[in-house]
C-alpha cells in the first residue's frame, strides 16, 4: 500500500488506513478517515508540508504526518 506522502501533484487516492497515534484523533475530527477521497494539490516551497484536497476543503499535513496514512491510488 502506498503512503499519502508518496502521491504526486494532482494524484487522487482513497484513504485505506491510518496508523493509530495521538494524531489520528485530530485527523478523524477533521474528516480524514478511511474511505475518504484525498487529492494531493501541491507542496510548500521547500517540499514540506503538503496540501491536500479532502472532501470540500484544503488540508495541510507535514510529510511525516502523511506517512501515517495509507492510501489506494485511484486513476
Amino acid at each position: 500500500m502506498p503512503k499519502l506522502n508518496t502521491l504526486r501533484n494532482g494524484q487522487k487516492s482513497v484513504i485505506t488506513d491510518i496508523s493509530e497515534n495521538d494524531l489520528s484523533l485530530k485527523l478523524l475530527d477533521m474528516g480524514c478517515m478511511p474511505g475518504e477521497e484525498i487529492i494531493m494539490i501541491g507542496q510548500a516551497p521547500l517540499g514540506d508540508p503538503i496540501m491536500f484536497q479532502l472532501g470540500g476543503y484544503l488540508l495541510s499535513l507535514r510529510k511525516e504526518e502523511a506517512e501515517n496514512i495509507q492510501v489506494e491510488i485511484v486513476n
Binding site: 493509530e20 497515534n21 495521538d22 494524531l23 489520528s24 484523533l25 485530530k26 485527523l27 478523524l28 475530527d29 477533521m30 474528516g31 478517515m33 494539490i41 501541491g42 507542496q43 510548500a44 516551497p45 521547500l46 517540499g47 514540506d48 508540508p49 496540501m51 484536497q53 472532501g55 470540500g56 476543503y57 484544503l58 488540508l59 495541510s60 499535513l61 507535514r62 504526518e65
Partner: protein
C-alpha cells in the same frame, strides 16, 4: 438551572456561537453585535473572550463568540473553553440558545460538531453560512429536509453580505424547542458508570454526562469537586477506559450518520471540488520561488505604506496638540496646575494620540491578511524553515501578531500544541518589534535619518524602519535556534491545518478590528502612559532641598537665561538625579541622563519613552515647537548635538532587543506557569540589547 430562571428578569438571554475554524463565526458575531462588543479573557485562562449585546425589537440579548473547534472533544486549551461553556450549566455563559455556525460549502465536516451540540438536547440553531460559495459551486442543499433530518431550525446565510441576518434575528425572538434527535447513542459504549455519574453531577443528558466523564478536567465546576473527580479517575482506571478509542468510535458513527444525511439533502456534482480562484492564487503564493518573493514583497510594501501614509495624519495630530497646549497655557491662570495640565497631561496625551494612525494601519493590514486567508499560507510556506529553528508553522501568526503587540501574540501561541515549540515561540515573540516600539522608532528615525529617497523612489526612513523589523525578526529566529539546542522534549510536533479558501477582505471586519485595537491602545496603554507622564512631571518639576532656589539666584541678574535655568533645574530635579545615577552604565552606549530617565520609565512600557521625552523637553520652555525639533536642537556640555547618528542607531538597537514591557512579563508568566521563563527572557534580551548598542555606538561614534 432553576437558580438562573428565578433570578431577576433583567438577566439577558445568552446566545453562544460555536463552529469550526474558518466557518465565518467571527463575521456573524460582528454582524450581530457591531461596535457593541467587549474583548476580554475567560477567567483563569488567557483565551480571548468576545461578548457583545444585540438588540432584538424590545429585547436585548447577550452574544458570546466561543473559540473555533472541529469537535466537542477538546485537543487544545482553546477548545476546552468551548466545552466548558456549552457543557456546564454552572458556567456564567451557559447559553440559552446555541448557534452552530457551519461552512455550507464544506457541510460534512461541519456537521460533526453540529450533531454533537444537538445531542446535548438544548435549544440550538444551525446557521448555514457561506451560501454564496455553495451557489457558485452549483451545490444544492435542501435546507428544509436538512432541518427535518437534524431536528433543528436552519438559517441559510452569507454573513459576508448580511444575507440571512434578519431571518436569524427573527428566529431568535421566537421560542426555540430543544431538539430530540440523537446522532450517537452513548449507551452503545456500555459504560455502566454513566448512570451513577448522572446522579452525582445531577445531569439528565447521557451525552453531556459522557463528555464530562471524558473531559472533567476542562470543566471548572466539576474539577473543583474533589469527590466527583476522584470517583471519575478511579473508575477510568479500574475499567481501563481508553478515551482515545471511545472518541474514535463516536466520531466514526457520527460521520456514518452524517453521510446518510448528506446523501439525502445535498446534491454536489462537482468533479473537482477545489475552489478555482484559490487554486490559481496558491499556484503563485505557495510557489517555490514566487511564494517567498511575494511574502517578502508584501511585508516590505506594508512597512513602506505604514511609514509614508501615516506621516500626514501624525503631523496634524502633533500640531493640534501643540495648539491646544498653547491655548490652555495662555487662557488659564499661570501656576502649578496650569503647568501640570499643559506640560504633564496634554503633552502626554499628544504622545499617545500621535501613534493612532500607525497602529490603525498595522492592525488593518494584519486583519486583511487574516481575513483573506493568506495568513494560513504564510504558516504553510514557512513551516519547514520554522521547524529547523525549533518553531512551528503555527508560530508564524503569533510572531507576525507580535508586530502589533506581544501580549495577544503570546496568548495566541495556545494553538501550538507542542510544549517545546510553544515555549520557544513565547520566548522569542518580544524580539519582534511591536507597535509600542513604533513610536520610539519613528521619533528617533526622524531625528537621525534624513528624509530623502533612494533612487528617488524608496524612502530612507521607511527602509531603516523595515531593517529594524528585519533585525528583530532575525534575532528571534536565531534565539529560537539556541533555545532549540538547550531545551529538551520528547513530545511530537505536528502541523495539521485547514487552509481556508481565498476571499476578498471584508472592510467592516477590518474597520472593527482597527477600532478595537485603537480603543485598547488608548484606554489600556494610555492609562499607563498618562500616569507615568504625571509622575514624571512631578519628578522633573521638584528637587530635594533648595536646589531650584539656588539656580534661580545664580541667574538672578542675567537676561535671557530662561533656557539655561530650565535645563539646570531639570538636571537638579529628582528625575535628573535618577538619570544621572545610571549614566555611568549607559554612557558607553552613547546615552545621556535624559535618555536614562526614559529608559527607566520605558520598563513600564516602551512607548512611554516618547511621553517621557515630551515631558522632559517641554518642562520650562515656552516655545511650542514639536518634540522632534526640541530634541534635534539639544546639545551636550561641549556644544555637540546629542542625537547623532551613532546615538540614534545605538538607541534604536537597544529598543529592538530589550525586554521593556511589564504586561508582556506578566502574560509570559501566566502562559508558561513559571517565573523562570519571563526571567530568562528578560536577561537574554537585556544582554542582547546592551551589547549590540555598545558595539554599534563604539563603531559609529
Amino acid at each position: 438551572m432553576n437558580a438562573a430562571s428565578s433570578k431577576s428578569k433583567k438577566q439577558l438571554r445568552k446566545i453562544a456561537l460555536v463552529g469550526n475554524p474558518n466557518s465565518g463565526k467571527s463575521t456573524l458575531f460582528n454582524l450581530l453585535t457591531g461596535l457593541n462588543q467587549k474583548v476580554g479573557n475567560f477567567p483563569g485562562v488567557t483565551v480571548e473572550k468576545k461578548t457583545g449585546k444585540c438588540q432584538l425589537d424590545n429585547e436585548e440579548i447577550e452574544i458570546i463568540d466561543l473559540p473555533g473547534t472541529y469537535s466537542l472533544h477538546p485537543k487544545s486549551i482553546d477548545e476546552e473553553v468551548t466545552l466548558s461553556v456549552v457543557c456546564d450549566p454552572a458556567n456564567k455563559y451557559y447559553p440559552d440558545i446555541t448557534i452552530i455556525v457551519a461552512d455550507a460549502s464544506n457541510l460534512k465536516r461541519n456537521l460533526l460538531l453540529c450533531t454533537q451540540v444537538i445531542d446535548l438536547k438544548r435549544p440550538c440553531i444551525l446557521a448555514l453560512n457561506m451560501m454564496d460559495l455553495v451557489r457558485e459551486n452549483k451545490i444544492e442543499i435542501n435546507t428544509a429536509l436538512l432541518s427535518q433530518e437534524l431536528g433543528i431550525p436552519i438559517i441559510a446565510m452569507n454573513a459576508r453580505n448580511n444575507e440571512g441576518i434578519k431571518e436569524l434575528k427573527n428566529l431568535l425572538k421566537e421560542n426555540i424547542a430543544a431538539p430530540n434527535k440523537c446522532f450517537f447513542d452513548v449507551a452503545t459504549l456500555n459504560i455502566n458508570f454513566l448512570q451513577e455519574l448522572k446522579g452525582l453531577i445531577k445531569v439528565e443528558n447521557n451525552y453531556l454526562a459522557h463528555l464530562i466523564f471524558l473531559h472533567h478536567h476542562a470543566i471548572p465546576s466539576i474539577e473543583h469537586n474533589n469527590e466527583i473527580t476522584e470517583r471519575i479517575k478511579l473508575v477510568s482506571k479500574n475499567e481501563k477506559i481508553d478515551k482515545g478509542r471511545l472518541q474514535a468510535q463516536e466520531t466514526i458513527i457520527r460521520y456514518k450518520n452524517i453521510n446518510s444525511i448528506i446523501q439525502t439533502c445535498v446534491v454536489d456534482e462537482r468533479k473537482i471540488k477545489a475552489d478555482k480562484l484559490t487554486q490559481k492564487l496558491d499556484a503563485i503564493l505557495t510557489h517555490k520561488v514566487w511564494g517567498f518573493a511575494s511574502f517578502l514583497a508584501l511585508l516590505f510594501l506594508i512597512f513602506q505604506f505604514i511609514f509614508s501614509f501615516s506621516a500626514y495624519p501624525m503631523e496634524w495630530i502633533e500640531q493640534g496638540f501643540a495648539l491646544l497646549s498653547d491655548a490652555v497655557k495662555n487662557h488659564f491662570p499661570k501656576g502649578a496646575v496650569n503647568d501640570l495640565v499643559t506640560e504633564g497631561i496634554i503633552s502626554g496625551l499628544g504622545g499617545i494620540f500621535v501613534f493612532i494612525p500607525q497602529i490603525a494601519f498595522l492592525f488593518a493590514f494584519i486583519a486583511i491578511l487574516e481575513d483573506t486567508g493568506y495568513m494560513a499560507r504564510v504558516s504553510f510556506i514557512l513551516d519547514r524553515i520554522m521547524r529547523k529553528f525549533g518553531l512551528n508553522g503555527r508560530s508564524v501568526i503569533p510572531l507576525i501578531s507580535g508586530a502589533a503587540c506581544a501580549v495577544p501574540a503570546v496568548m495566541s501561541t495556545r494553538t501550538i500544541s507542542n510544549w517545546k515549540e510553544r515555549i520557544i515561540t513565547i520566548l522569542v515573540i518580544p524580539l519582534i518589534s511591536c507597535s509600542a516600539r513604533l513610536p520610539v522608532y519613528t521619533l528617533i528615525i526622524a531625528l537621525v535619518i534624513p528624509q530623502k529617497k533612494l533612487w528617488g523612489l524608496i524612502n530612507y526612513q521607511g527602509l531603516v524602519l523595515f531593517s529594524l523589523y528585519l533585525i528583530g525578526f532575525s534575532a528571534a529566529i536565531f534565539s529560537a535556534y539556541i533555545f532549540k539546542m538547550i531545551l529538551k522534549s520528547k513530545e511530537r510536533s505536528y502541523f495539521i491545518m485547514e487552509m481556508p479558501v481565498y476571499r476578498a477582505p471584508r472592510w467592516g471586519t477590518v474597520v472593527l478590528t482597527m477600532i478595537e485595537k485603537i480603543k485598547v491602545f488608548l484606554f489600556d496603554v494610555g492609562k499607563v502612559i498618562i500616569s507615568i507622564s504625571i509622575v514624571l512631571w512631578v519628578l522633573s518639576s521638584y528637587a530635594p532641598g533648595n536646589r531650584f532656589e539656588k539656580i534661580e539666584k545664580k541667574y538672578e541678574n542675567s537676561d535671557n537665561a530662561e533656557n539655561i535655568i530650565a535645563s539646570e533645574k531639570l538636571e537638579a530635579s529628582y528625575a535628573g538625579i535618577f538619570g544621572k545615577a545610571i549614566e555611568p552604565v549607559i554612557k558607553p552606549l552613547g546615552f545621556d541622563w535624559k535618555i536614562g530617565i526614559a529608559l527607566i520609565t520605558s520598563f513600564a512600557a516602551r512607548e512611554v519613552f516618547v511621553g517621557t521625552m515630551a515631558t522632559i523637553y517641554s518642562v520650562g520652555t515656552d516655545d511650542e515647537s514639536s518634540l522632534r525639533q526640541k530634541m534635534q536642537q539639544d546639545k551636550n556640555q561641549n556644544g555637540e548635538k546629542i542625537y547623532t547618528l551613532a546615538t540614534g542607531v545605538s538607541l534604536l538597537l537597544f529598543y529592538v532587543f530589550a525586554m521593556q514591557c511589564m504586561s508582556t512579563i506578566a502574560v509570559v508568566y501566566r502562559e508558561s506557569g513559571h517565573w523562570k521563563w519571563p526571567l530568562i527572557q528578560f536577561l537574554y534580551m537585556g544582554a542582547l540589547a546592551y551589547f549590540s548598542s555598545l558595539i554599534a555606538y563604539q563603531l559609529l561614534a
